[in-house]
């Protein structure tokens, strides 16, 4: 049996995984990445519009800082986020982007002087400062007070991923491609790596490590239509779940992006609307101002997606053979702008729709896009329950997004969480406690168990067709666990998914019996895993009797802080159970820097928690007292929610800005 030893094992070669690997390597630990695909093909490459970091270089970003970014992020999360984690994140985002600038990302830059832009369908002239010339610029995105989303045209994720992967090459990070982690190796409450399957030869290999990081992205592909790459199947979350020990957080928090093209579901960036694009209905009417007079097309993603769905339900959608859709109009931005700043969008329109977006409207509708839920971790990225297991990026519920992620905060999270988690892992690996204490027979048993599971799939007779189960699961998720949810549909979804899950134990791989490269075998075991993840999402959604962020219950339209200001925690302790176990983790108001409030969209339906008022009073008192003493914004912030002591020493310093010298 083949066993490979390393210090830090990373599952997933996207931005988060690469950044962790590079970080631990620089601290002197060995790092090994297992990836389904060459890292540069990871889904991170698909991020188009940009990365949020409060640099405040461009005119429309002036006055931006960590505090504004923090406030936008918490409001965006509908107060579901962990405010300590969000604070750590906004503090480190400028550092992460400057690091990436040094590593080669060709960020678009500020050009001094006048340039025109489209704002609220009007052409305006913006004048950039002389002293900002050549610094990283930013564009507008939904749910943000300032222009904070830094970009390279609309290929931001691509450029970041390439720079990051190249950096990993320079640091000689070991990368094993076309490897699929099948199960965590767990002994005595600690994770020691994974059993992995080589997708080319079929060989099973145990990768044994002091620390294991899951950075496998989200679980969008449990839905039939998703903007996600086809490998975003939630297998990382399933790995954690199947350990029986690790937990998942807020799995029901699933984001729908307003503008994916119809029918194929490929994303057109939020930058389209950030740069001035409009949403139009079948009559060519701009409807968003009627629903959200203030933020219009640039309300938070969950809000825009719901408003679009409402508008379609009123009969205002454009009929098509693939169902109703709306229009995204970027023609008003002009060809020059589109060909410079929205060129991926242009290529997508040309290749998949056969249209020219400088002339034609783009058919769009809200489509599954992002998984706020994931492997529940401490602020260090370590699982709260399984020692030695870490997770970061979209795979994790770290939890800076709560129930709705802001556009531009996802790629930003990958590199920020990656740089921080690399340090916490390295700190752990520096201690004696990290020494491995697992008997090799345990490792060999883990390989044998996986081999037996695969053999069963290949030799089963009269079993189930994995494709049939999977397509049904995808349809249920789409129809009953979508943008608007209700108790009846969710109950039906849970019941049917549970029955699909039971049937999935009897999957047979028909005809294609190879033990080596075999897509049918891959589909079989992934379907089993995906059903567990889908059940976690649907069951969490059924139990959560409120509406918060992207989780919108028609039968419970209120955000209910009195009863539901808590995180859903999902686990699967017994392999024989057919529904996940669900518990809850309180989100304490007493320690919030920004107590729960109104997000500013639609009518305020919030059912407040009694503790909210008390915390508001105390926050205001602390703020006023310190302001009277002439305290700085840093001193005030620190009095409300101290976080610097949680950060690695090297990332604690303040961030320089043009208007804010250190």
């Amino acid at each position: 049996m083949k066993i490979v030893y390393t210090d830090v094992l990373i599952i997933g070669g996207g931005l988060a995984g690469l950044r962790v690997a590079t970080g631990v390597k620089r601290r002197g630990h060995d790092a090994l990445i297992l990836s389904l695909v060459p890292p540069k093909r990871s889904h991170s490459a698909a991020a188009q519009g940009g990365m949020q970091a409060s640099l405040a270089n461009c005119k429309m970003g002036e006055g931006d800082n960590e505090d504004v970014h923090f406030s936008d992020t918490i409001k965006g999360s509908d107060w579901g986020a962990d405010q300590l984690v969000a604070r750590m994140f906004v503090h480190c985002a400028p550092k992460a982007i400057r690091e990436l600038a040094a590593w080669g990302v060709p960020w678009s830059r500020v050009h001094r002087g006048d340039h025109s832009a489209i704002m609220n369908a009007q052409k305006v002239t913006i004048s950039e400062k002389n002293e900002a010339h050549g610094l990283i610029t930013a564009r507008d995105f939904g749910g943000t007070k300032k222009w904070r989303t830094c970009y390279t045209s609309d290929g931001t994720g691509h450029s970041m991923l390439y720079a990051m992967d190249n950096k990993a090459h320079e640091e000689e990070v070991e990368i094993h491609e076309r490897q699929e982690a099948m199960a965590l190796i767990v002994d005595n409450g600690r994770c020691y790596g994974v059993v992995s399957r080589n997708l080319m030869s079929g060989e099973l290999v145990a990768y044994v490590a002091k620390a294991t990081t899951i950075a496998t992205g989200g679980y969008g592909r449990i839905y039939s239509i998703s903007t996600n790459a086809i490998i975003c199947q939630g297998t990382g979350q399933a790995l954690a779940l199947e350990s029986g020990i690790a937990t998942l957080g807020n799995m029901e928090a699933v984001q729908f992006h307003p503008t994916a093209i119809v029918p194929v579901g490929i994303l057109t960036t939020e930058g389209c609307r950030g740069d001035g694009g409009l949403l139009l209905d079948k009559d060519g009417y701009r409807f968003m101002p009627d629903y959200e007079p203030e933020k219009k097309e640039l309300a938070s993603r969950d809000v825009v997606s719901r408003r679009m769905t409402e508008h379609i339900r009123k009969g205002k959608g454009v009929k098509s053979r693939y169902g109703d859709h709306l229009w995204l109009d970027i023609t008003l931005l002009g060809r020059e702008h589109i060909e410079k700043n929205l060129r991926e969008v242009k290529e997508i329109c040309e290749n998949f729709l056969g249209i020219d977006p400088a002339v034609d409207w783009i058919p769009v509708r809200p489509t599954q896009h992002y998984s706020m839920g994931g492997i529940r971790t401490k602020y260090t990225g370590e699982s709260q329950t399984l020692h030695g297991l870490y997770s970061c990026g979209e795979a994790a519920c770290w939890d800076m997004h709560g129930f709705n992620r802001l556009g531009g905060n996802s790629v930003s999270e990958t590199v920020v969480a990656g740089m921080l988690v690399a340090e916490y892992i390295s700190d752990f690996c520096d201690t004696d406690a990290s020494s491995m204490q697992i008997h090799s027979s345990k490792i060999e048993n883990a390989i044998k168990e996986e081999k037996a599971k695969l053999e069963a799939l290949l030799t089963k007779k009269n079993g189930e067709d994995a494709y049939v189960l999977r397509r049904r699961m995808e349809a249920i998720m789409m129809e009953k666990v979508g943008i608007f949810r209700n108790g009846k549909d969710l109950q039906e979804a849970v019941d049917e998914l549970e029955s699909l899950y039971k049937r999935s134990k009897n999957i047979e791989v028909f005809r294609s019996k190879s033990r080596a490269a075999n897509p049918a075998l891959v589909n079989a075991y992934r379907t089993q895993k995906m059903l567990k993840v889908a059940l976690s999402v649907a069951y969490g959604a059924l139990l959560r009797q409120e509406s918060r962020g992207a989780h919108s219950r028609e039968d419970f339209p209120q955000r209910d802080d009195a009863n539901w200001l808590k995180r859903t925690i999902t686990s699967w302790p017994d392999a024989e159970q057919t529904l996940p176990s669900v518990s809850y983790e309180e989100i304490p108001i007493e320690s919030m820097e920004l107590p729960p409030g109104f997000r500013g969209y639609g009518k305020d339906l919030t059912k407040h928690n009694p503790a909210t008022h008390a915390r508001e009073v105390s926050v205001n008192a602390i703020r006023e007292a310190l302001e009277r003493e002439g305290a700085s914004r840093f001193e005030i912030q620190s009095a409300l929610l101290p976080f610097l002591d949680k950060l690695p020493q090297k990332y604690r310093a303040k961030n320089a800005r043009l208007g804010e010298t250190l």
């Binding site: 060459p38 093909r41 400057r98 690091e99 600038a101 960020w107 790459a229 005809r511 490269a517 250190l662």
Partner: protein
Amino acid sequence: MSEAEAVRTLKINILRFDPNDPDDFPHMQTFEIQESAGMTLYIVLNEIREHHDNALMFDFVCRAGICGSCSMLINGRPGLACRTLTSKMDANITLAPLPLFELIKDLSIHTGKWMRGLSERLETWIHEQEQTRDIDMLEERMEPALADEIYELDRCIECGCCVAGCGTIQMRPDFVGAVGLNKIARYHLDPRDKRSEEEYYKLIGDENGVFGCMTLLGCEDVCPKDLPLRSKIAYLRRMMLKVAL
């Protein structure tokens, strides 16, 4: 499409081979698929796998033309399968794996391994003089036009189409290809990379580098990202010639 219009039946001919199976040998296999509106080769191949032959191996990741996984020979020409619409093609379509790369099975090839080798050979990363920039301070400035120009070359998705379309590499297996030369052009343009002209010369100043190119320029013809490969190769050649003299 009106009712009267006949739905086409596509004949998809695929070059099949499983190197892991000692009894297998390369052979063509034909599948018949009913065309649907907006159909791409991504949809075609998945339909074949789901309904006709679940062992058929191919690679898709983003299925949106941005990750470079699904390059293959489409009627003999390298291209991205995911963004190839069947409506623009004849009903008889022939698919084969890209040549020159290690075959995994059927249409699946090991481009990642090849590209990683290239990256290590050409050291396609920023070579800084001092290792640590202070990330608490303002970032180094860059002219906006230069950043745009670097991004233009940074758009390469390492799909391997230029390698498969290259005449030179048929004769010189160690030729870096347009993908490699484009990367050097990208780093050479980047002021953050402190490598000297001489150091670049060592990387590509020979027949496996810029002087090997026979200027057939199949690379530019097939590049799905429309990268300016011809002008960049010409530029590098002039630059390297200057260094050599």
